[in-house]
């Protein structure tokens, strides 16, 4: 069960469809782990239903009804079928983006214990990537100039403010420095959504910063 959840503001923006697609996908992935947040979102959706009922109805021509009636027998659009061979045990949405197993992804090695795989969401302003940290491995101290959402998918990590396990969701804003360390016993895989690149702060890692240019899209 998840112990770290998206803040209320973010769940409201998720519910109303206001989040950019990469952030929305990250929140949806948390929901697949967290019944508490799912129920909250359902109740937030009730507020949407109540608003819908109170709108001033706008006239819709008879021709629109006829067009819809004529299409009722159309075949339904194809739906994505879950990938049963996958070993990721991921929510279907991520499974679709990854389209296979973690091992099949292109992993870009950043440090000895950190590799990154960039996934395509089409979001022009956000990078959507998986971070893979070897067990006990450390991500060098870094800051963010923008916001970062993180969802733990496998294993876990600890940083200055706590310990995080699968399903846990974190948002960081601005310049707070942190140094995540993967827990012992299993490698850690996290989903991270960024709107500005990470910046390593220590001199001996700073040369890596150009490699971390934001890869949105």
């Amino acid at each position: 069960m998840a112990h770290h959840h998206p803040p209320m503001d973010l769940l409201i923006e998720y519910t109303t469809g206001a989040l950019p697609v990469a952030q929305s996908a990250c929140v949806a992935a948390h929901l697949s782990y967290c019944q508490q947040c799912r129920q909250l979102v359902e109740r937030l959706e009730d507020v949407g239903g109540a608003h819908l009922e109170r709108l001033d109805p706008q006239p819709v021509g008879q021709s629109v009804l006829e067009l819809v009636m004529a299409r009722l027998d159309d075949p339904e659009p194809l739906r994505y079928a879950p990938n049963e061979a996958s070993d990721t045990q991921l929510p279907g949405l991520l499974d679709r983006l990854i389209n296979g197993d973690y091992a099949d992804l292109v992993w870009k090695r950043v440090t000895q214990s950190l590799s990154i795989s960039y996934l395509k969401t089409g979001d022009p302003n956000h990078e959507f990537a998986l971070y893979r940290i070897a067990e006990g491995g450390r991500i060098p101290e870094h800051t963010h100039s923008g916001s970062e959402m993180t969802l733990v998918l496998r294993g876990g990590f600890a940083d200055e403010s706590g310990e995080y396990h699968p399903g846990d969701f974190l948002v960081r804003e601005g310049w707070d420095k942190h140094t995540p360390v993967a827990l012992e016993g299993e490698e850690c895989i996290c989903l991270a959504v960024l709107d500005a690149p990470l910046r390593f702060t220590r001199l001996r890692h700073r040369w890596l910063n150009p490699l971390l240019k934001l890869r949105a899209g």
């Binding site: 469809g17 697609v21 959706e45 009730d46 239903g49 109540a50 006239p59 969401t121």
Partner: protein
Amino acid sequence: MANKKDASTARGASSNGRWNVPTGRRTDEWSEALVLIGESQDRGAFTRFFRHFAPLIKAFALSGSSLSASHADELVQEVMLKVWQKAGGFNPEKAAASTWVYTIARNCRTDMFRRLQKFDTPLASDDFELESEQEESFVLLHSRRGAERVRELMSDLPPDQAQILAKVYMEGKSHSEAAAELDLPLGTVKSRVRLAIQKLQGLMEA
């Protein structure tokens, strides 16, 4: 329209001849219509449903004049077609019909915005929907009552909170977009939205 009943009276709901179904089912006519559409592809029920909801979906599409009239009609078509296709998955114990329609309309509008902006994503909004699952019955009762309470309580919100909530929900604006349009600090928008939700929610929990 809504035939309000709580679970204690729903048990005997068949006495009014409208329902002879198990305890706790929603008894409003639009949930009933959705069930008919889902279970027996009832075109009459679908037409009634269309006449009620299509004008609301069109109003939703035109909120904040974000879409043209012809795109609004296109959205109405897409949403109503999805209603027909997905009605079999509607669970009257879990959601109010209006809530269910709202989520479809929201998803279709998001996808339409992205299409109009030539925004190329492998993800359709429907991909974000989670598989429905068996929820505990007390949770169902809770959410069913919640939807009715929210409806009643909306009219008690102070105008400044009601205005922002409408902008956020019906126009699909983010907090920062709402702040810019209303010329208010972001923090003010966030706290008004949160307060409004807490009022609706607090009483939902009562």
